[in-house]
Symmetry: C2
Subunit: 271 residues, 2 copies
């Protein structure tokens, strides 16, 4: 018996056939319109996510991300798309793998590893075919030194949680997230939400993924609003227009009737 074989037996034999359950969870982002406080002003925009109310144990009556078990005949992304279709009737959504969450006790029933996906949609393209237990929540996020305070609101119910953020190693940009306060988010989904928000915040500036959240035609003001709610800060108009210029294409359409100067509608321009 060689040393390799010895190590193999020593380390793997006892548990070789243990198999965790694997789920695919989807963090679906969109932008919602708020009310128009004044006929001259633009409608306020909100950053929002889709949650599902649990009606079975565990975490009964709490909210969670749409998700479900992965079949052996599908990839985790295929599972995500199947689940999304079944809960929101949405097809052809932009999806990217976010992170694999695997805390040993994240699900009280059994060992469950969750491969999470981040999705972006234009909520307005969605026909109103959400099932009754699914709902869009507007996000309010406040970040200080070490923690992130999130409030989610669907007009009916408010969910709040606080996540503590710690750098995993001094050399990297990876964070460890710990849930400090949480009333109504099931599983470790509060962490998934924060992780996805950070991913989106980063990627919005070096990819074109934001256009997956836009309709076909949009004004640069609307596009800027979306950047601003995702980044959580105001941007300067000329700088924004310079940066975005190469990614959009002017159309001959114009948005009028807004109580102020009309705005040219733009389209996404693939490079």
């Amino acid at each position: 018996m060689n040393s390799e074989e010895k190590t193999f037996l020593k380390n793997y034999d006892a548990s070789k056939y243990e198999r965790p359950s694997v789920t695919s969870d989807i963090l679906l982002f969109s932008v919602s319109d708020g009310v128009q406080s004044n006929y001259r002003k633009l409608k306020k925009k909100y950053f929002s996510i889709l949650l599902v109310k649990r009606n079975t144990h565990p975490f009964k009556d709490m909210w969670c991300l749409p998700g479900g078990f992965v079949k052996n005949t599908e990839t985790t992304e295929e599972a995500a798309r199947r689940i999304l279709k079944s809960e929101t009737n949405l097809d052809n959504v932009y999806l990217e793998q976010l992170y694999t969450f695997d805390d040993i006790n994240r699900d009280p029933r059994t060992r469950v590893i969750s491969v999470s996906y981040m999705g972006l949609v234009d909520k307005n393209k969605l026909d109103d075919t959400l099932y009754e237990n699914a709902s869009w929540f507007n996000i309010t996020s406040l970040e200080d030194e070490k923690s992130i305070h999130i409030t989610l609101d669907n007009g009916n119910e408010q969910l709040k949680f606080v996540i503590k953020k710690t750098l995993k190693e001094k050399t990297t940009d990876r964070y460890k997230y710990d849930v400090v306060e949480n009333n109504k988010m099931a599983f470790d989904h509060a962490k998934v939400i924060v992780c996805g928000m950070e991913r989106l915040k980063n990627k919005i500036s070096y990819t074109d993924i934001v256009f997956n959240m836009m309709g076909e035609y949009f004004t640069l003001g609307e596009l800027q609003q979306v950047y601003e709610i995702i980044l959580g800060k105001k941007l300067l108009d000329p700088a924004f227009r310079r940066i975005i210029a190469s990614k959009v294409e002017k159309t001959d359409k114009i948005k009028i009737g807004e109580g102020h100067r009309p705005s040219v509608l733009f389209k996404y321009k693939k490079k």
Copy 2:
């Protein structure tokens, strides 16, 4: 029976108890010294990865990344560290989750989902306790329009593969990798290697992870060499020094005996 429950039953019931196997695979990067072709010149550096020769089926006699099954009592990262320890005797390695690979037929035995980790080490800190079936391979990478040609060499054996790279969606930076040619890499590990190389290439410029591959003391020339082999291109000295300046700290040590002007040794400076 409400629509939610109906959907639940329709979609999940049949396969609810299917459980895939889950493995954790580690892509361990380091830098190796080559020969000194001339007493004045610096030693050439190579970018290298650790592979293990398979001595059982499937893929017997091919090479793969160190990896193994995840136990239900450990996270995938804990599994990665346990496996690394058992195969290389390495502790306290920098590790970050890379991606979860889940093609349905990536393992001919059964459905296996692999959560891959990328690790960075200074090969010289490693005592020579690699098991006989593990070996460091130097990487040569050539990239053109649409494909990446990789050659791996451990001084004894050469592995070659070609990966075709296609953008997954027009709005993003995510690629789909297809193995076009491959003689000796087991499973889908050729894809994992390419995926990790791209991740490292990106992150080297906006994090400090490269210092996990360096010894405690190094010259700026050596550090620049490491950047150059990872990025696959020459950098200009003054620009490199400007960028790196805030991350390193001058020491009073000096490297002499090189056939040219001696060089100050630097240390990593945490911010």
